[in-house]
């Protein structure tokens, strides 16, 4: 968090970015249902991802100078940040591999899914990212109580997303005939691809939720301060990363191509 900015404007920026992201999500939904233009969907997803990476995940902090003292908290946090981003880079290759699999096996077709439910879980995850940002900003200004409240909201929304996907969407899809392909030639590889992609993402949501619980509990114990809260920053960046992945997975599974 750059300290040239005051708290109100930092929070205001979070709201503004959220509005952009929400508008773009609505835009991509209508682009998909009215005229199915893959190129526009790709552009929208990339813009959303760039917004999240810059304003919510603060990727520019990788470039901050941390002084010469290799043993200072600031320098170590800089090192930790590099470590976390390298991990996310590595992890994104898993998701990229799944996208390649999806493109190869499904091409310009997609499974027949409940569109409203898809939009709903996507919105829930996006809103959770917004509250995560508010929580992290609060902690950066030493407001422990606001951090805990916002993180709790993030956690509840994240849990809602997880339940929405695994316990609502999966049974619904299975009911529609989308099985994990236990010898169901009608749905072809659709089921396998759908459950694999959402499952891998859900696994990351689950780990993110555990991470949130840990930092919430540590904040309760008073571990974090305005100056020293690397754990909070890491949990927030990881949570936004989970959202970032869904920015690509949502159109890939729900919007691109023809439902069959």
């Amino acid at each position: 968090m750059s300290h040239t900015q005051d708290k109100t404007s930092a929070l205001g920026q979070g709201v503004l970015i959220f509005v952009y992201l929400a508008a773009l999500t609505v835009l991509e939904y209508f682009v998909a249902v009215t005229f199915n233009a893959v190129s526009i969907l790709v552009v929208v997803a990339v813009v959303k991802a760039a917004l999240v990476m810059y304003y919510y995940m603060h990727i520019y902090k990788l470039n901050s100078s941390d002084g010469d003292d290799h043993n200072s908290y600031q320098y170590k946090t800089g090192t930790n940040r590099i470590g976390l981003w390298l991990f996310l880079l590595s992890d994104s290759f898993v998701f990229a591999g799944l996208m390649v699999m999806r493109a190869n096996l499904l091409g310009l077709t997609r499974p027949h899914l409940n569109q409203l439910l898809g939009l709903a879980v996507t919105s829930v995850l996006l809103i959770s990212s917004f509250f995560m940002n508010r929580g992290e900003t609060a902690m950066a200004y030493g407001d422990k109580k606001a951090f805990m409240n916002n993180t709790l909201i993030t956690f509840v929304l994240g849990l809602g997303f997880l339940i929405g996907v695994v316990f609502v969407e999966w049974p619904l899809a299975a009911h529609e005939g989308l099985t994990a392909s236990f010898g169901n030639p009608a749905s072809g590889p659709m089921g396998g691809v759908f459950y694999m992609m959402t499952g891998m993402h859900a696994f990351h949501v689950l780990t993110g939720l555990i991470f949130l619980l840990i930092v919430w509990n540590n904040a309760r114990k008073g571990v974090y301060t305005a100056e020293k809260h690397w754990g909070v920053e890491a949990a927030a960046v990881y949570w936004h990363f989970v959202d970032l992945v869904w920015i690509f997975f949502y159109p890939a599974l729900y919007l691109i191509g023809k439902a069959v």
């Binding site: 003292d69 290799h70 043993n71 320098y75 800089g78 090192t79 590099i82 470590g83 390298l86 991990f87 880079l89 590595s90 992890d91 290759f93 898993v94 591999g97 799944l98 390649v100 699999m101 190869n104 096996l105 994990a180 392909s181 236990f182 010898g183 030639p185 072809g188 590889p189 659709m190 089921g191 396998g192 691809v193 459950y195 694999m196 840990i214 509990n217 540590n218 114990k221 571990v223 754990g231």
Partner: protein
Amino acid sequence: MKRFFSSAFSRGLLWQLIGTLAGAGLVTGIRALMGLSVTDTFFFTEPAWVLGGLVGAVSYLFGSGVTADWVKWARGMDTPEHPEEHFSGWEKYINVSLDHKVIGIQYTIVALLLISIGGLFALIFRTELAASELQFLTTDMKLFGQNGPQLYNTLMSLHGMIMIVSILLGIAGIMNYVVPLLLGAQDMAFPRLNAFSFWIAVPAAVLLLMSLVLGGFDTGWTGYPPLSARAPVGMQMFFMGVFVAGWSSILGALNVIATVLRMRAKGMTAWRLPIFVWASVATSIIALTATQLIGLSFQLVMFQRLFGMGFFDPAKGGNPVLFQHLFWFYSHPAVYVFILPGLGVISELLPVFVRKPLFGYRWIAMSSLGIALVGFVVWAHHMFTSGMNEYLRVPFMYSTLLVAVPTGVKFFSWVATIWKGKISTPTPMLFVLGGIVVFLMGGLSGPPNATVSTDLHLHDTYFIVGHFHDTIFGGFVFPFFAAIYYWFPKATGRRMNETLGKLHFWLMTPSFFVLTFGMMYIGLLGMRRRIVDYDPALGFDTTHLILTIAGYLIATSVLVFFYNFFNSIKNGEKADGNVWNSRSPEWQVPSPMPTHNYDQAFEVVGEPYDYGLEGSKYIEFSTSAKSKH
């Protein structure tokens, strides 16, 4: 003995056993409740073994105690930045230590152990191949639920993957030991993650070996479906072992990159980095990212077997060639992961023993990165005969041939560095020179495989086997031995025996040439790889017999090395100074080095490889008392 059984290593194994049984028992219980079958050929059912293997590996980590500090952090507790070492002597190496030098040695020892196991497997099937017809791996014999030829397939497949894992651990060992010393750092950037990366490799090795006794598998190390989708349970253990070992590689690579970015001594700018560090960064970029794809491809086959998700099953709309793309996206760049650190060792050691500046430092540094980056776009040259889209063949042919350019840069630099040098040939230098020559043979036998027209003939023959053994021996094995002989005095304060070292080299090198040239020779004549038997009418019996003898000679030379290694730890000639008269910072202080390396920080004031130039200086130790960093 008691101290061995109470070590982190043994506790981990016990926990792995308990975890495996608990995981398998859980699945078996659930299956019993659901009215499904609860036992199979290997006692537990396949899903039970899979969850058991996973829980076992995780239990190992918690049991060994390598995660203890993280658990404390998660509970909001603080841990000392540099915990005290509880153990000394040999016990340090079988318990969790955060010191990068200890971890480097742990990696190296496990790598050597796995090399021995993989080599033993090779000797077994090499013996069977010494003559045509089935000798002792006959169809009548039965071991671990496999008959002779099936056992051959398992041993041949495991030889591949165990060697690959041992190479990954071997390079991690050298990088861990050497990189922080070269940078002037106290330790790696993330010491706990570093320990974790090592300790996760142990249960991975156990999982890999479990595949041998759980029915084995007959796919070769590549595990292509559809064969891997119906191989015995051993296949799943193999997949999981690779998956877990992959995490060791990924996290280790992450640590190396972060260390190089953040922990350099003052004045160590990009163009003054030791060349081995450049190579380590290049190799780590690949290991960090591409490794995920082999994990994913194996995971997808695991799920296809467990849940019937037909990713690679054409009958269910899947695509088996997709597996090969995902798999080779890692597994080709992986060979650059294996060789780049080795080539870095060659470039690092060569100027020391010819007393001349390294020729074309920047070119070498960039050639490592060049190989790594070009390596990302060459994978489909393994698939010229796979039935992939034909228009992909020519672009992949050219991208593959392009790798020869940065590799050629390295050769030019090495030759020019040696040119008119004052060459001395102690054992490390012998292995460096051997590595250069062997790698040249591997390099020259490469383009015929990259060219579509010739590859269609050579694919799946012993020519390929000869080619990659040349590249891996030249790019990894020879430099690995060179590195061990070279840095052994740094780690122990004693030298390895020169006579035995020379015996090791002169026994191994000619035998190795006989082995790989023989392989290429019969490969060109049509000897297929990965088969237990061949037609006597092909006339390969004599050559195969010679190959087998050469294999045993290599094994003998490695035994000489092991004797020398373990004997020298206690009885080697004392050598605590700058044994090789090197300019590198780690040799300017007495050996062995203390836990946090340098007592005084140093500053880089000149070029690293200006050997033989009057008045040149690489580093200067600060005169102030023990500095923080």
